[in-house]
């Protein structure tokens, strides 16, 4: 127990970093993904550009994207890349691509009749989008979005690859130093609790918004 209390602060510090990247990714990637998803669905010329973007991002490993942002970009454009910044930006871009596809598919399954119903009622395009299309799109995409939110919890461990002191990296260092596995157990408990919280929020959202479908 004493040992656990001793190793807890660096692991908790790492968790704080993981949590910060998680929250920033969700806060920035969701609106960015939404804009890209809407553009892909509603603006024809934007479709191929967004298609290429999502193809590249979804077709390459997140780990590779982290290396590119952290190590390859500073070689091409001489600059000092901040690790935390590089990690967060990569996560935001990666998740925005996934979210864009989720939103696009959520829009695609809304029947044309919903648009037409809004049109014959004399609603303006903006009113149709905000009052008819987007609420239905959010309901259509809630479950895959919750899945992505859970995946992101675990993906934050990839930040270790660019030497960011996130939770798993700190735990691994403690294991290497003390030759005891306790730190990994504590990190595992943190991940489980974190995932549990995300799942609970997801279930509450499901209960609230999916009951009428």
């Amino acid at each position: 127990m004493e040992y656990w209390l001793e190793i807890l602060p660096p692991i908790a510090q790492g968790f704080k970093t993981s949590l910060t990247v998680y929250l920033l990714t969700m806060a920035l990637a969701l609106p960015l993904g939404l804009v890209l998803g809407l553009l892909a669905d509603m603006v024809k010329p934007a479709r191929p550009i967004i298609g290429v973007f999502t193809w590249i991002i979804r077709g390459t490993p997140l780990l590779l994207q982290l290396y590119v942002t952290m190590y390859a970009i500073p070689l091409l454009i001489p600059m000092r890349m901040d690790r935390f910044f590089a990690g967060t930006v990569t996560f935001v871009i990666n998740y925005a691509a996934y979210f864009a596809e989720i939103f696009r598919s959520g829009l695609a399954i809304i029947p044309l009749g919903q648009w037409q119903a809004g049109q014959v009622l004399g609603l303006k395009k903006r009113e149709i989008i905000f009052n008819i299309i987007l609420p239905q799109m959010f309901r259509n995409t809630l479950l895959p979005l919750i899945n992505e939110a859970i995946t992101l919890v675990k993906d934050t461990s990839l930040l270790a690859a660019i030497a960011i002191g996130e939770m798993l990296r700190n735990a691994k260092e403690i294991v290497g130093k003390d030759l005891r596995v306790d730190a990994l157990v504590i990190a595992g408990i943190f991940y489980l609790l974190f995932s549990f919280m995300v799942v609970s929020v997801g279930k509450r959202l499901e209960k609230t918004y999916l009951k009428q479908m």
Binding site: Q116, Q119, V120, L121, L123, N131, I132, M213
Partner: protein, 226 residues
Amino acid sequence: MLKLQNITYAYDQEPILKGIGFSVNEGEILGILGLSGSGKTTLLKIISGLLVPDEGEYLIENQPAFIKQKKSDKVASELGVVFQQFNLFPHLSVLDNLVMPLRLRTKKPKSECIATAVELLDVLGLKDQIAKFPYQCSGGQQQRIAIARALVLNPKILLIDEPTSSLDKENTKKVEELLKSLHGRGLTLIIITHDLPFAQAMCQRVIELSEGRVVFDGLAESYFNA
């Protein structure tokens, strides 16, 4: 109150409507009949402003329905549309299906819009359904909700597409009575249908479409007795 002259429309250069012309007079019940592929759906979309005709003139209350290829506000204010699939908003309660468009269109306070919607739902026998969502209602109830939503903006004309296609005999009778009572309150009805017995029971005047042209326009009596 509604006049179409020489309306043409083509999908991918294939002509669907080939010079349609007719008018709808105030207070009448007009049936638009025709087989599948006769152009009924395209005509419905043009009348409701969802499609702009390639050529021809469409006047509603003597004003153009399309101005510079855009639907005029007059179309939505004069015309209520009930789709064959109803197209109710699944994420909104029955009440909100009416309140949302009413609030957006009239900018009236929410309480006033709710009162108007509740009153209308009551008239249509739907007061018990107001808190439900569309999926919790039967096919006949969904159709009445769609009619209520089309009427909430107080149109003068109700355009209704295949009103009996998904209804059993009993509900067909109910919708017939409902439409007749709405007509009795001064509403002009345009009914697009391929259900001839229903058209015979409902319509005063009939237009038959065939291959994109009007092949009959006259009294229902002479159409059905011919």
